[in-house]
Symmetry: C2
Subunit: 397 residues, 2 copies
């Protein structure tokens, strides 16, 4: 009947306590938790055994000096973070804290299908690991963002429109045949939302990240948690019908979708129809920056249509911050001005009060940061740590 209960996993909660980064002695851990001295000693040994915590004093060993202090072993492990777009891929290595150690961006075609695209990403990760003098055995997990809907529980894409050959592809299975570690897969806007949140000065507990690029989508963090919904597609605003849009057919099969009216391809089509030859999102951005009036006008109209859908989101989700990212967000004020114009003019006062709409600060790296956090969260989560400890005990006995 009650709304929620707290899972009780005292063994790994010591680790949760240490996630604040502060080193603590065994006595401090016992005092902070109420656990018995012997339980703390045993748990500390186990968590050191699976490499998740380390002693600050290199000489300290099991049963060593009572003053030895322990902390989260963030640098022991690597996370492979992969942010895959329609036409590019960024592969990075991060720590368990989510800090990016190294990253590399290269051109690719997601439409080539899962095997060659993921094979190249894994090869790039392997090379980065070697370049930094580390070993593949240091990899704790892999986090991947894909440019389409993903069933989060299985890591399989679900009818992704721009990803032929990827439908229901077992992405974690493919990765684990090469690197046998937990592999977390989510859509690119969700991992971007996690990345933006990590970079957010206000904590980002109630934040929407909106990607405006070849597609349009959003990732929603509400009450401090990423919202996935029942099928993992919460935030899928690209296929909401816009009343102020043209009744054009969308690649999804429906008519008048936001994406068919305000995405990069839709803007290109409108500009071409007005006699301006433009072929890519990058050209839209370049022309907008040059001050082209036609481009500014079409971008502002696109912004108003995105604003129409976001106005409903403001009522439904009530975010504190909306972050506009994706390649077209770099076009400057025109898109943002159209969004702000519609949202502030049409939202209910209480929801609009204090609402901030800003441009993403970290468009190119935010996906890798988010993919790293997605995977690190899993490695440090209570159920996963409990499983590791169980395996350790089974091996020991």
């Amino acid at each position: 009947m009650l709304e929620s209960t707290t899972g009780i996993y005292f063994a790994s909660e010591l680790l949760q306590l240490l996630r604040d980064g502060q080193p603590r002695t065994r006595s401090e851990l016992a005092a902070a938790t109420g656990l018995s001295r012997s339980t703390v000693a045993q748990r500390v040994d186990e968590l050191m055994g699976v490499g998740l915590i380390a002693s600050l004093d290199a000489a300290a060993s099991t049963g060593g000096r009572p003053s030895a202090r322990f902390q989260l072993n963030t640098d022991r492990w690597l996370i492979i973070a992969i942010d895959l777009g329609a036409k590019h891929c960024t592969v990075g290595l991060t720590s368990l804290r989510g800090d990016v150690i190294v990253s590399e961006r290269y051109a690719t075609e997601v439409s080539a299908g899962p095997e060659p695209v993921l094979e190249e990403a894994v090869a790039t990760a392997m090379r980065l690991i070697e370049d930094t003098g580390r070993s593949v055995r240091d990899v704790a997990a892999v986090g991947i963002g894909l440019p389409g809907p993903v069933e989060f529980a299985t890591g399989r894409p679900e009818n992704p429109p721009i990803m032929p050959g990827w439908h229901h592809f077992d992405t974690p299975g493919f990765i684990r045949e090469r690197i046998d570690v937990p592999t977390l897969v989510d859509n690119d806007v969700n991992i971007a939302a996690l990345g933006e949140r990590a970079l957010s000065p206000d904590g980002g507990d109630d934040m929407m990240f909106v990607k405006v690029s070849t597609g349009i989508g959003s990732g929603i963090i509400s009450g401090g948690r990423l919202q996935r919904g029942s099928r993992g597609i919460a935030g899928d605003i690209g296929h909401v019908r816009v009343a102020s849009g043209r009744p054009v057919r969308c690649h999804c099969g429906n008519i008048g979708c936001l994406e068919a009216n305000a995405s990069g391809p839709a803007i290109i089509e409108q500009l071409n129809a007005k006699g301006l030859e433009i072929g890519t999102n990058a050209e839209i951005v370049a022309r907008a920056r040059e001050g082209n009036f036609l481009v500014a006008q079409v971008l502002r109209d696109a912004g108003r249509m995105i604003g129409e859908v976001l106005t409903t989101c403001v009522s439904v989700v009530n975010p504190a911050t909306i972050v506009i990212g994706g390649s077209l967000s770099a076009a400057g004020e025109h898109l943002l001005a159209g969004i702000r114009e519609h949202v502030y003019a049409n939202s209910v006062p209480l929801a609009a009060e204090g609402l901030i709409i800003v441009q993403s600060r970290a468009a190119s790296t935010v996906g890798v940061v988010g993919a790293g956090i997605l995977a690190a969260e899993h490695v440090l989560s209570v159920p996963y740590v409990e499983e590791q400890l169980r395996l350790l005990r089974a091996t020991a006995s």
Copy 2:
């Protein structure tokens, strides 16, 4: 950098463990948690001291038989649950588990202002307490649902349109002058969502509750948690503009809102304009049940407009279930058919797949159940229990 950390409050986590209802001995509690025997004994005494757990064996006392078993003391406490509507109020008493012990519904006018309305609710609760042979000292908390936006953190209504005199009224302060216990206040659709969830066979972890009555609003449970948003007004769908609606002015000042097109008063106005004299929501329901074709038609149109807004919600929130409640939901299939028609025809396939849209099963009591759960959750929450234990220790020393 990381997404979330677990708050560590080992003292009250014993209580969280006992929330499953299963009685346990001190040794079992020590084994299940890893806490030392002395810590467990001390915590058990403290939790008994604040009356939140009880021994199954009445003769067991501090330091008593080692086989004494302890469980959550749900029947020791009462929750006063108040569900206030525009023209009626339901006052109930519930247990800490959310079971309704007794409830009473009576006519009132929320527009009379906060003092007389709340005074009457408190008097009703006092009488119910006396009638059931209990004492006001058994009351652990009060939960209240109000028919308008509420800032949850302070319990103050925020410019509620149908509640003159209530703006920023210190509802918890008023209650605590009469019964000095924690008082939780939320809007009526959020508490209805909590109540529906408690009655939901599938757990209701991803559920939207939609109220269609004099006003239109929704309460959203996503990932198992009630979503309030940054200002507590998440789910406020009544003032979303509907493209298929008439451009009528809403009482909120905006034009074309869902509420101005599909609420009880809007339906009455449309029926009157067509020559059918109807004055109340109850009459709409009665005529619909009689099979009046005009009423059926207007209800179905209203359903389509509600469906238009819900289609966007299906993409943004991705619920598994949408429950339609409020006084007009009793009109039968016409409203529901209009909603289903629009949502299933226009939602993205992955979100619509498996989506269930149903009529509320418990329209009249669901608010009291939800208000009880809202308050009981607070009483059993880690921060509140910790505070109680601190006060107990301060008194003891």
